[in-house]
Symmetry: C2
């Protein structure tokens, strides 16, 4: 298991760096997806399921960004993806320079799809463009349906909202329609997929959307 230690790129031009990286990824036909969520919302579990469903059709890589540990990179490697662990040196988010370093260490040439599993945090990662082509966020039902009100930027910035752990929503009085309308009020174009990795509910629609993004990126 490869682990690299990164420090924040001190640059006033993160947005510019991100734009350059996005263009390079487009030329190489590799879709980079920035996956963001709170700690424990189910990012790694979602990746494991995606890999199990798509690894026969697409070459998939994963950058696992964490403050510490390598448990997630080991999990997604075992699921069948090319993975490396990125340590952020205490940083609470990834930026474009850090993402470029991670991609180079991963050696992403020839991959169709690379996930950047960002640090578990609903605030800071939303503020930094990593150069990803698409942004997916996860909200898990135990976190509560009021989260769009409290962390609006993440919902505004994401292309897709996965609502995870739908199998346990009753235990947490999670109101799906309230959550959807709060998210849509912030971002009318956000695609929303309620699902459960335990029961498999909702995955067909999500995987269909994801494949569409890969195909469009390669055009």
């Amino acid at each position: 298991m490869k682990i690299i230690e990164l420090k924040e790129t001190i640059t006033a031009s993160n947005d510019l760096d991100a734009e350059v990286l996005r263009k390079e990824m487009k030329q190489k036909k590799t879709l980079l997806i920035n996956l963001m969520a709170s700690p424990g919302a189910g990012k790694t579990t979602l990746l494991e399921t995606i890999i199990s469903k798509l690894a026969h059709k697409y070459k998939i890589g994963v950058l696992e960004a964490d403050v510490d540990s390598d448990v997630d990179a080991i999990r997604v490697s075992m699921a069948g993806a090319k993975a490396i662990q990125v340590h952020t040196g205490g940083m609470c988010h990834m930026d474009a320079g850090m993402t470029r370093c991670g991609l180079e260490a991963l050696d992403y040439e020839g991959l169709d799809l690379v996930f950047l599993e960002n640090v578990g945090n609903l605030i800071c990662p939303a503020e930094f463009d990593t150069g990803a082509g698409k942004k997916i966020m996860i909200l898990s039902t135990p976190e509560g349906d009021d989260k769009p009100l409290k962390y609006p930027l993440m919902f505004k910035e994401s292309d897709c909202l996965v609502i995870s752990k739908m199998d346990v929503k009753e235990f947490f009085d999670f109101d799906l329609s309230k959550c959807i309308s709060r998210a849509k009020a912030l971002n009318k174009d956000i695609e929303i997929f309620p699902l459960s990795a335990k029961t498999g509910e909702g995955f067909d629609e999500f995987i269909e959307w994801l494949e569409k993004q890969i195909i469009e990126w390669k055009r």
Copy 2:
């Protein structure tokens, strides 16, 4: 409902500011507790339960820090605490200067106990001393028992770890003894209270510990 908008205090001397604030709070016999956790771990629910159990004996105040919204301040006000909402202007944590502004706006004179409900985030709040006398963190069972490995600083910095949502731990394969030994490996002195706000399990021990802290602070 009072809402104040704060900006980060640009100061190299946050630790010093925090120390000064802590001494002032000690002189005024008000215990300030910095309450930290991921989004949705149950910070506000824990506060509601604490207030319901202790408001007849102690005067309690709450600073509700959020990037946006005022839902939490309304909840704890209704539970019987003196509360204000603090907006952090996008910031992912509170520092000592912001906490002082919040305390002044709350007018905390005569309160026995003030909770700073920090922004929902397991990373950044751990890095900034707010001037609190004690730090409590919450980990909810849906987040997983591996979180000490991934967010070690928060576990190192906290005096007390509340493990919440114990009533649903089976749904998430949460291994309590693994979680406790991982937390203790980072911080051997951390006090750990597994509990459930839904069933009431574990609260007697936690409230007993909390009252001990209030009494010791007033000495």
